[in-house]
Subunit: 355 residues, 2 copies
């Protein structure tokens, strides 16, 4: 029997496969980040991209939230555009979000991007994961991650964040073959990258399809879903390595997301977890407190966290936020979030069979 | 009997109240805009804000899409921040979207904003509407509009567009009384502004709560819904003037939106109209083609438009986009959109009783 107050990789993996747990495991997307004073201290001397490439420093910042909050998972510090840079795209990592100064808008630009061996192109990502696995042992699940093909294609084609996604929507309609080739390539790169992360020590991997929520369901099924499906199918993984799929703004896409081969669906804060459970009985879910709840008062954070937990009854649930933690998150609220999960479920809960 | 090929204010109003129509009325959000060469020509000599304040030019650009496409509605050219400026906030209208260089973050900043008489503060908005009513006659419904309190509060508090809405979420949790006062004020201003627009000649009004889709349902019910409800309740309108409520990203909010007193719900492109109809039987709906469909090929635009029309069978439906038309929209695709609606329904359709 595990100690419910201590973190555990096993608890994380059990919940990811819908097996019984003493309490839901918990972590936060972007938990190694600017809201932590010790992270800001490291960033005083290195840029974001230098930090991604430094095995020592990236390992250190990945572990900072583990030391402070004892989450059940430690995600390695990196960025979804690190592999995109290794494909041959120019990426500028700045404080206003990454920019790609030469957007990919034509077949010739797609042809200049290439599949690569992550052990050669981004060996530091594997080294960080190996170090984390050694340091965290089985006390926390070590998580790898990558961007989903659709979301990476948005970055490449739009050249950065976008309000309207006009460029990729235009390409989908006027040059569908070019977009399809780009997505296929990104699927293969995602599969290679996640396979390398798993070989390096990741217990589980998360695929961030942050911007797929922009698509109506028909378009999601035409573009984003087959691409992420191809990525998942290409991952070389032993059976015990779950894949988590995150989409922001996914209220209209839950059933389609469930048709990917992802083991766990990570849900944004606008969907009620109880409704997601009703629509996808038994499917392991991750989420989904509004990151805004960490900007307020700790008692209220704890109350909302307990409500969230109660809505799934602790079954097949990995507690998390509905999106990445905000730079302005308050440490007392973050502590209240983790504390509420650790203390919120006092008795072991019933197992849920997977759908 | 109306001629289905000709535009008609009556058709618009009938559809808005769920009465039988020969075909769904049609217009496009932001139809007077940069995708039109004649609009860009006008903008060569005047800034955006000068255009909003010029009765002659704003009337002219409002009518440009009517002359070209014969929509069933003409929306007056303005911006949702025009009334905010008249409240005493500094607004900079730029090409990257409006900015408010002095964000409202404290009670004292809220206290400096004031309710005003639109006939004094923004008389040109009424003049534009009166002119449009005279010029369009009953050939097209003349539409007024304003921003919803929540969305305007986002602008005021964030200082412009935001990815995370951290500032307003923090205020909601730490200074709820201040946010409540700001929303109350914005509700009263919205009611005053829409009342003035109606008195000046608007056949119908639309309230844009573009950013309320950011909120989980509980928070929508706590903040955005009561504020827009207070605005609607405060509108001085004869019974024949419908109110349309638009929310972007509203898949998770449909039932709550329907509890506002809005006559028509305007739905973004990610919700299937057939699902919205199922969840809100009989409620008049507006929307919801993906604006990205106007970036592709006209045959495909027409096909998607016909699919959209078929999903509601022409009942209690105002055909529109699911968001504003994009600057890169192609004229042949826009023509295909309007053409498909005009020709798509050949026989009169059955009336739908309102829920």
């Amino acid at each position: 029997m595990t100690d419910a107050s201590a973190p555990s990789a096993r608890r994380f993996l059990d919940a990811a496969f819908g097996r019984p747990v003493d309490r839901p495991p918990v972590w936060m997307m972007r938990q190694a980040g600017r809201y932590l004073p010790e992270y800001r201290e490291v960033r005083r001397s290195v840029s974001f991209v230098e930090l991604c490439r430094s095995v020592d420093l990236a390992t250190e910042v990945s572990l900072q939230p583990f030391r402070r909050f004892s989450p059940d998972a430690v995600i390695f510090f990196s960025d979804i555009l690190v592999p995109v840079e290794a494909m041959g795209a120019r990426v500028e990592f700045g404080d206003g979000g990454p920019k790609l100064p030469e957007p990919v808008r034509e077949a010739s630009a797609v042809a200049r991007l290439s599949r690569f061996d992550p052990a050669d192109g981004i060996p530091y990502t594997g080294d960080i994961l190996s170090r984390l696995r050694r340091e965290a042992g089985e006390r926390a699940a070590v998580l790898g991650f990558c961007g989903a093909p659709w979301t990476l294609a948005c970055y490449l084609i739009e050249g950065g964040a976008s309000k309207s996604f006009a460029a990729i929507k235009e390409m989908a309609r006027r040059e569908p073959g070019t977009l399809r080739r780009l997505l296929d390539l990104l699927s293969d790169v995602a599969a290679d990258v996640l396979s390398y992360q798993i070989a390096s020590g990741a217990h589980a991997v998360q695929i961030f399809d942050t911007w797929a929520g922009e698509l109506a369901e028909d378009d999601y099924r035409e573009w984003a879903l087959p691409a992420v499906g191809r990525a998942i199918a290409g991952i070389r993984r032993p059976g015990g390595v779950p894949v988590i799929l995150y989409v922001n703004g996914c209220a209209h896409l839950l059933e389609a997301m469930a048709e990917s081969a992802a083991d766990v669906l990570s849900i944004d804060w606008r969907v009620r977890l109880s409704e997601a459970r009703r629509r996808l009985p038994g499917k392991p879910l991750q989420g989904n407190l509004d990151p805004g709840e960490l900007l307020g008062k700790p008692e209220e954070t704890a109350r909302r966290t307990r409500e969230m937990l109660a809505s799934l009854g602790g079954r097949a649930h990995i507690a998390n936020l509905g999106h990445g933690v905000l730079p302005g998150a308050r440490l007392d609220c973050v502590e209240a979030f983790f504390g509420a999960v650790r203390e919120g479920v006092s008795a072991p809960v019933e197992p849920v069979l997977r759908a």
